[in-house]
């Protein structure tokens, strides 16, 4: 079932962590709360779970108001950053715990536990204790434990951040598979944009207790609505510009002494805006390229990263932009070289500052 949050506030003492937040997460959706630490994403997750009490507003699971319901009655499945396995219980007993709390007994429990652990590839570790498992195995057990009770919603609090990079990618896939299979509404909290972009149906980028932008991964990355979102999801060059409307959907802006065309994403009339340029949308060349508008610039520094090279480029008036080059000859430009920065007007978006 879906999750509907309306006008939610959460306060700790005098401090307001979340105020007036509304959000609709459709049934079966993989929803990610993305943001830096302290933005309120974990608090929001814990309020959905019932561990942090709401000071105002409403939370509904599939139409049922759960705002005042204690967490153990909400039928949630929760996965924690530190796995939170019961150290004195075996893997099988950990997974059976929720079933037993629901009063289930006997062979049915055993069968379900075995099936759940086999599903995450750990059917052979039933009688181990958590201390004898690797980090990845622990998180798989935690996942099996949360899903075996067939919860109404699945809540995950940074479940991958204690794992190393390779395992992270593996477990990501496991999570997605299990989520699709169970078709369970999922709220996933992370500060890692790559995780958010690769796993989610919908992303809510959070900032200071508010959802700053809600959208599909493509929408969030390609059309950020605020400077904060643009900067947090993928690197972005941002600069304040004066704006003059031209054709519908197009504006004219002044950048580093040049007059250029950009896409209008201002959502209303404005005289100033924030020009957003993704580094990978900037093409460095020694001469202007036909079909692209271009800025004269000088290479100031570069970092060779194997598959790509990241350049720091200075334009007229001291404006410094980041540009990333891929493909053959991506490392061809050296510091001090005079170059041209080319980009398509569609890739240059002006948003409200």
């Amino acid at each position: 079932m879906g999750i509907a949050i309306s006008n939610l506030s959460v306060r700790y003492g005098a401090e307001t962590v979340i105020s007036g937040l509304s959000l609709d997460i459709p049934q079966g959706c993989f929803f990610t709360l993305l943001g830096p630490s302290g933005c309120g994403k974990t608090t929001l997750l814990r309020t959905i779970a019932g561990f942090a009490p709401a000071s105002g507003g409403q939370i509904r699971f599939g139409g049922r108001d759960v705002t005042e319901l204690p967490p153990h009655k909400r039928a949630i499945g929760m996965v924690f950053q530190d796995y939170a396995l019961f150290p004195d219980k075996t893997v099988a007993d950990n997974v059976a715990y929720g079933l037993r709390a629901r009063g289930e007994k006997g062979g049915g429990v055993e069968r379900k536990v075995k099936a759940a652990l086999e599903r995450v590839g750990l059917g052979h570790l039933l009688s181990r204790h958590p201390a004898a498992l690797s980090g990845g195995q622990r998180q798989r057990v935690a996942l099996a434990r949360a899903l075996v009770i067939k919860p109404t919603v699945l809540l995950m609090d940074e479940p991958l951040s204690n794992l190393d990079a390779k395992l992270r990618v593996q477990i990501r896939e496991t999570i997605i598979e299990l989520q699709r299979e169970a078709n369970i509404t999922t709220v996933f909290v992370t500060h890692d944009q790559e995780e958010a972009l690769s796993m989610s149906d919908l992303i809510g980028v959070m900032n200071k207790g508010k959802v700053e932008q809600l959208g599909t991964p493509q929408q969030i990355y390609a059309t950020p609505r605020t400077g904060y979102v643009a900067d947090f999801v993928g690197a972005a060059n941002r600069t304040e510009v004066a704006v003059r409307p031209t054709a519908p959907g197009r504006v004219e802006v002044d950048v580093a002494g040049s007059r250029l065309l950009a896409t209008d994403a201002l959502e209303g009339p404005a005289e100033h805006g924030l020009l957003v340029l993704r580094p990978e949308d900037l093409k460095i060349s020694s001469a202007p390229v036909a079909g692209l508008q271009s800025l004269p610039a000088t290479i100031r520094g570069r970092q060779y990263l194997g598959a790509r090279t990241s350049y720091s480029v200075e334009c007229a008036g001291g404006l410094v932009l980041n540009a990333e080059m891929h493909g053959a000859g991506h490392d061809a430009f050296l510091p001090g070289a005079a170059v041209h920065l080319g980009f398509d007007p569609a890739a240059a978006r002006v948003i409200r500052s």
């Binding site: 779970a49 561990f51 009490p53 204690p70 153990h72 929760m78 019961f86 929720g98 709390a101 949360a146």
Partner: protein, 546 residues
């Protein structure tokens, strides 16, 4: 408070805990504070100023505490240093020291000193036979000797821990800069371990101030504070509530002042103690090794003396106060088990119940304080630490005065003895419980709740099993210390409710050392049995968590 918060059981438990602590800890304390100001002869504090004997008791107590603290430090620190830094013959014995002080009740120690050096003591009589007359062991000489040889272990334990944590690279750095090894030790190591030494020295000071058993058995003509409190409380027909309250308040104020200083030192020490690689103990060979082994051996032998003496005394024939060494009998032991088993039964019963209550209460309350904080839990935390500032005598006086009649009359019951036990040992259970709970992440509990287990069941099914090893070791330590409790129970017990320490105390008072030895030996066995079973059968780590 949020209305949904009141539906969980924890706020109610907090309220209940605070109410219990209020009635049984705060109320008695306030009662004696108030009683010290009002009385038949005016304020107790004015009376005190004109009471030469009481003033002398306070002065003597402070002098005694200073001297014993100094002696204990002079024995404890060097012993700690050699055992942390060197290897030598008999070192294993020194590491057993904590266990020794734990199992020998002070009343037994005092008794054995008397059996050896008292007026009828083995050595006294032997020397008298050769025309040598020792000074009387009663008084300053006996007090300082016997207390120093008990309390140095606290300095030893505290210092060993600090030296173990001391980063030996600091010392090496000092030597690399051209300082001689001995100098570098003094200049680099001493300042770093000083907070630990000071803290344990202060602990010794407070223990001397609160000491009752040795003070009263060996004090004789030296008036001391806790003895004065006890005498004011039990004086036949002339029990002086104002004076006993004033003296008890004085004791509380002294100890509170010292605990405050102690907190400051420990708070400062956090920044000073450099954690690092401890030095590897170096073997001591030749003359040096023999010397250190001998010195350490003497200290350990004196610590062990009580155990040997009562073991022999328990099976020795006696006529009144005179021991007939060399003549053996089972009569003394038979008395403990057959003729007069009351004290043994009472001790096991009261200490058993007190241990159960104390462990259950401190486990639940430390859970509240650490995991379910609300407006009142910090207050609960503070109040539950108050008994640290109350010596057994003060607590006994407080309970006796507060629950004599009125809304809760407990005088003459077994309940008040159990209550005294529980209150005295509660802070240790609390500290232990809180330490272990800080190591259990909140997410474990939340995982259980998210799986549908209600909060209280989560506590029972998930948190409690994880706390169990620590709770078991707390239970055993509580048992060992309650079984040997004397000073509070001596004030609140009534006829027929004697415990083993009380019985031993009374027998010593009558000079019946052989019987006292038999009860003492059984007491040590009662203390030791759970320790042995726990460490060997259940593999409980009693000292690791300290």
């Amino acid at each position: 408070m949020n209305p949904s918060a009141l539906r969980s059981p924890w706020p109610w438990f907090s309220a209940l805990a605070l109410a219990l602590l209020g009635v049984f800890v705060v109320y008695p304390l306030l009662y004696i504070f108030t009683a010290s100001f009002f009385g038949d002869g005016g304020s107790g504090w004015v009376q005190l100023m004109h009471d030469g004997r009481s003033l002398a008791a306070i002065g003597n107590t402070l002098v005694l505490a200073c001297v014993v603290t100094l002696c204990s430090t002079l024995i404890g620190v060097p012993l700690a240093y050699v055992s942390a830094r060197f290897r030598f013959r008999g070192k294993l014995l020194i590491t057993l020291l904590p266990l020794i002080t734990l199992v020998i009740p002070e009343v037994v120690t005092a008794q054995t000193w008397l059996m050896i050096l008292g007026n009828n003591g083995v050595i006294t009589r032997f020397l008298k036979g050769h025309g040598i007359f020792l000074p009387s062991f009663y008084g300053w000489f006996g007090l300082i000797t016997s207390m120093s040889f008990i309390y140095y272990t606290y300095v030893y334990i505290g210092t060993v821990a600090a030296i173990g944590k001391f980063d030996a690279q600091l010392e090496e750095a000092a030597q690399s800069l051209g300082t001689a090894p001995v100098r570098s030790r003094f200049h680099v190591m001493l300042p770093v371990i000083r907070p630990a030494i000071l803290a344990s020295a202060l602990l010794v000071f407070t223990m001397v101030v609160g000491n009752f058993a040795i003070s009263t058995i060996l004090g004789h003509n030296v008036p001391l504070l806790s003895v004065a409190i006890y005498q004011a409380a039990v004086a036949e027909g002339a029990s002086n509530l104002t004076m006993q309250s004033t003296l008890a308040s004085t004791s509380v104020l002294i100890v509170m002042g010292l605990l405050f200083v102690n907190r400051r030192i420990i708070a400062g020490g956090r920044y000073e103690i450099v954690q690092g690689r401890g030095a590897k103990p170096q073997p001591l060979k030749g003359g040096q090794g023999v010397l250190v082994s001998a010195a350490a051996g003497v200290v350990v032998a004196i610590s062990l003396l009580p155990l040997v003496t009562i073991a022999v005394g328990a099976f020795t024939v006696s006529r009144g106060p005179v021991m007939r060494w060399g003549e053996w009998t089972l009569d003394n032991v038979a008395r403990v088990f057959i003729t007069a088993p009351g004290p043994l039964v009472n001790s096991i019963l009261y200490a058993g119940i007190a241990t159960l209550i104390s462990v259950a209460f401190s486990t639940l309350v430390s859970y509240l304080v650490v995991k379910k904080p609300n407006l009142v839990t910090p207050l609960i935390d503070y109040v539950s630490a108050i008994p640290l500032a109350l010596s057994g005598t003060v607590l006994g006086v407080g309970l006796l005065a507060s629950f004599n009649d009125g809304f809760l009359s407990l005088t003459g019951t077994s309940t008040i003895i159990v209550l005294a036990y529980v209150i005295r040992r509660m802070p240790f259970g609390m500290r232990n419980g809180q330490a272990i709970l800080h190591n259990i992440p909140n997410s474990i509990e939340e995982a259980s709740i998210s799986l549908g287990s209600p909060p209280f069941r989560t506590f029972l099914r998930v948190v409690l099993p994880m706390m169990l090893p620590a709770v078991a070791s707390a239970a055993i330590l509580t048992w060992t210390t309650t079984v040997s409790e004397l000073s509070a129970s001596l004030l609140v017990y009534s006829g027929g409710r004697e415990t083993l320490p009380i019985q031993i105390f009374r027998l010593i008072d009558s000079g019946l050392m052989a019987y006292a030895s038999a009860y003492g030996l059984v007491l040590v066995a009662v203390i030791l049995l759970p320790v042995v079973i726990a460490t060997t059968v259940f593999k409980v780590d009693l000292f690791g968590s300290k």
